[in-house]
């Protein structure tokens, strides 16, 4: 039962695909060309979120899928029930015997910043088998890359020092929509998740505070059956709640916050005390159930001061409503006042303020403008659902069969594919920044270091530039061959580092929020001419009536 959600067996079965992949497979098989050598490339046409970069995620999941690719007996039985009765029995035998041993797969390293038109994955092998991978690959890459990109954008908006927490499980597309989101948000730049299962399966740090229901469940001191806490200083058991109540009076009397004791919720104080007794060294409180400034923050300060007296230390507080910038600044003022009271309370000024409540990229940037005092953002809905653009449009296109290039034509130039198997390079400037990505014909010489090369826009004739690379990186590694994963399999943490590293290599203007500069994806002179000649050969000539 719970076994179904172990990291071992999360890989989808080959039946997780569109029906037409199987009907086309039968079409190929009946025509006798299912085993023709083919090449498909997986790429996207447009960066998401009005941005100019994308983070590549989901490759390892694809390799896992390829490794386990095998129709089960019940799969075949099901297929038999949905195919016409006339379907040849031998076709089902063929399907039963299929595995991915005959494929070669090339790919960009997972976690790399990537751009439109550059193949993320190239699959070589028998036509029908390559075709069968399409939907599952797209399913595994599209959302992983989209949500990792979204996370990276939140990180860029929040800056290096802010803590980013993913809280999206309740708004994700079901259980493993939530798991995928947690995993790839971490890769893209988040520090932790609230999702325990993701923590268990992927070794991601988990974080959490408390909910309003916890606070609401305590109406008064009477709801606290146990009130004792052991002092860390002298081991003595103390009535923690009473101490907090006394401290509250001291805080109210000695502060200038204009709040009277009656305004402060006793239920809230009881809830905070109960939580502090459970987590005296990592106390966190949700302070907006009643009124942040007239109740929550004062209760929090009182409890934190008593914890301090007993040798413990609070972590921080969370606000989940209201004007987050204003509240965070007001809270910080109060924390600083406490810190100023005595030298051993100086740490109080740095007590963490966590903010949540429908936070998106723009909220964070607006909060930055207002010079907020928030240390940590909890982000849910906008992060995991990618509200601004809930799907990345990766496609998986046939580029060659039996060595013959193939092109997908379209009235829209952006939808035309670049035919034939290609090689892909990233060219870096002399100072180590990414200059552009360059696609070449399969048999062209790789671009050389300090060797100026003409790079052309694939479709716009006049857009050309010489690049003089200080470094050249071949983007595609062989990752699957002879039925085995043949690349190193990076850990999630290594992928996360790759996101940071490759984003650092990208110029700031490609990453900015407003009107970012498009990153150049170019073709060589040879590929340019090949593409355009092939296009003309294949496009029908219209007839004006």
């Amino acid at each position: 039962m719970a076994a179904s959600f172990s990291s071992e067996n999360m890989s989808p079965p080959p039946l997780l695909t569109d029906f037409y992949q199987l009907t086309m497979c039968y079409g190929y098989w009946k025509a006798g060309n299912h085993d023709q050598p083919a090449c498909f490339e997986l790429f996207f046409r447009k960066n998401p979120f009005h941005g100019e970069f994308t983070i590549f995620g989901g490759l390892d999941d694809c390799l896992e899928f390829v490794q386990r690719f095998k129709y089960s007996e019940t799969d075949i039985e099901f297929l038999r029930s949905v195919f016409p009765p006339s379907t040849e029995e031998k076709f089902f035998e063929y399907l039963s015997s299929l595995n991915c041993d005959s494929l070669k797969i090339y790919a960009i390293k997972e976690g790399t910043v990537v751009f439109p038109k550059v193949p993320l994955i190239a699959v070589e092998g028998p036509l029908a088998l390559c075709q069968l991978l399409e939907t599952t690959f797209l399913n595994l890459i599209n959302f992983s890359s989209l949500v990792a990109t979204n996370a990276a954008r939140f990180r860029l908006a929040a800056g290096k020092n802010a803590e980013l927490l993913e809280f999206g499980l309740r708004r994700a597309q079901g259980p493993n929509g939530g798991l995928t989101a947690s995993k790839y948000c971490y890769m893209g730049g988040f520090d932790a998740t609230s999702n325990l299962l993701a923590g268990k399966l992927y070794n991601i740090p988990v974080k959490g505070t408390q909910a309003h229901s916890f606070i609401c469940s305590f109406s008064s001191a009477a709801d606290m059956k146990k009130r004792e806490l052991q002092s860390k200083k002298n081991g003595e058991m103390v009535n923690f709640f009473e101490l907090c109540k006394d401290k509250l009076k001291v805080v109210v009397d000695s502060s200038n916050w204009g709040v009277s004791l009656q305004e402060i919720s006793e239920g809230e104080l009881a809830a905070f005390c109960a939580y502090a007794i459970a987590f005296p060294d990592t106390f966190l409180a949700l302070i907006d159930t009643y009124d942040v400034l007239r109740s929550g923050v004062i209760n929090f300060i009182a409890v934190s001061l008593v914890l301090h007296d007993l040798g413990y230390r609070s972590l921080g507080c969370r606000i989940d409503s209201g004007d987050l910038s204003y509240l965070s600044k007001e809270i910080r003022v109060r924390f600083k006042q406490i810190a100023a009271m005595s030298s051993d309370l100086e740490w109080f000024a740095l007590t963490k303020i966590i903010a949540s409540n429908d936070i998106n990229e723009e909220t964070i940037m607006s909060l930055n403008d207002q010079q907020h005092e928030i240390n940590s953002f909890g982000v849910g809905t906008h992060l995991v659902t990618c509200q601004k653009q809930p799907a990345l449009g990766c496609v998986y296109k046939l580029v060659a069969v039996s060595g013959q290039p193939k092109i997908k034509l379209s009235q829209e130039v952006v939808k035309i594919t670049i035919p034939g198997r290609k090689k892909c390079y990233r060219l870096y400037s002399q100072n180590g920044r990414c200059l552009l990505d360059l696609l070449t014909l399969d048999d062209e010489k790789p671009p050389g270091i300090n060797n100026p090369i003409l790079c052309r826009h694939p479709f716009e004739e006049s857009k050309r530039a010489y690049a003089n690379p200080g470094r050249v990186e071949s983007l595609h590694d062989l990752v699957w061959s002879d039925g085995k994963i043949v690349c190193e399999r990076p850990t999630l943490h290594e992928m996360k580092e790759r996101v940071t590293q490759t984003l650092n290599e990208l110029r700031g203007d490609h990453k900015r929020y407003l009107n970012p500069t498009p990153y150049k994806v170019s073709v060589t002179e040879k590929l340019y001419h090949f593409l355009h000649e092939f296009w003309l050969q294949n496009a029908p000539i219209g007839q004006l009536d």
Copy 2:
């Protein structure tokens, strides 16, 4: 491996939750009030997609989850690693022993049309245990209900007679994001899915056509190694491709479509022939790879006519680009011309036209305005990602502890909860239409038939109306008690019927696209007074400085 995706074990483990549910649980446990009897209600505050109704989905998944709820040894081990070292060992023993035998769960029937503020599910039981269900319940209900509602809206837009096909797997949030979408789109009003695994697991009809890569993989007749098809009429093997080529010439010569034979792609014809040989009785073709009107539809007609000559019948064609309304009408004109050629070809006029390509609710309505000739819509991205609103904001709120009502206060009236356990009724007019939903105190007498009752808006004092119900339905059934599911578990098909039935009972103005009338969710006079008195008792009185 594939076993992980069987219908048996798709239920998430209890660790699929937010960390704070467990930390709060420890807080309750330490305070000694984890076993206080509590009641939580799950509801949403706003209908999605600017609409005025929602379809309730995901209940059965929740019950499955509750039935299997049990922390495994490795779960406990993991929790031990993320809790502070000071955590009491007895707490982990408590967690290990937890199951849902002590809960009672009440719920509205899955597939029912539902409205804001009405509890979809009410959970009664020990405070900490009820709390632990929150995130998983929300995860299971939010997306299922959202996507079912989206599907229902597509159905309303498309009308009863259009066929609706879900094609969203490649854009969904990972493997079971895709499965959930397929399942609940079917429930909400779709006829079939392209997702084979969903077909296998949930017994949903599967449908599919072919992709551009299939068409592109054939450059000419040379790519067809096998060209024969057996006539259904006389069992003779014929060279199908040659017959189609000849027929094409006849069609071009005898039509007035202004197309010359050279304009028509031979590769496309070969691809259609290959597919027709595989599926002679269910032939479907994707006709927009080259040019719909100057190539695709003519090749399709030629192949269909040869199939007809051999005793088979084509199903239809798909267009995936361009002006779908214009193209569908032009295609229909050609089909009608063929139908008019002889009496045994009359069926040709009704040949199915399937349209896809970024279709959303508005596209369908605009196509309706243009009097399109499409029979079937294939919908992917906008359906499964719910682009217009990718998350439903269900919440799960504490409404009572130890018999004491609880209220969640907020500066925003819409976020205030209605305290206490309630009963929920749907009142129908004398002619069987839904009048309103009515919440009452737990111990109030149910509303009676033909017995006028004052129904009040819960927050707006002056909004009141007498209702005189012709029928009263109690909305909540007991669904879980004594460790067992105690309700009938409807099949997916029964839930789908319930969607249709309950939507039919709803007045048209609540369902229309533009400015729909809000459906009334009311409270009794008694509940109104209780709510407002309790609110005033609990809300702090501000102080003006």
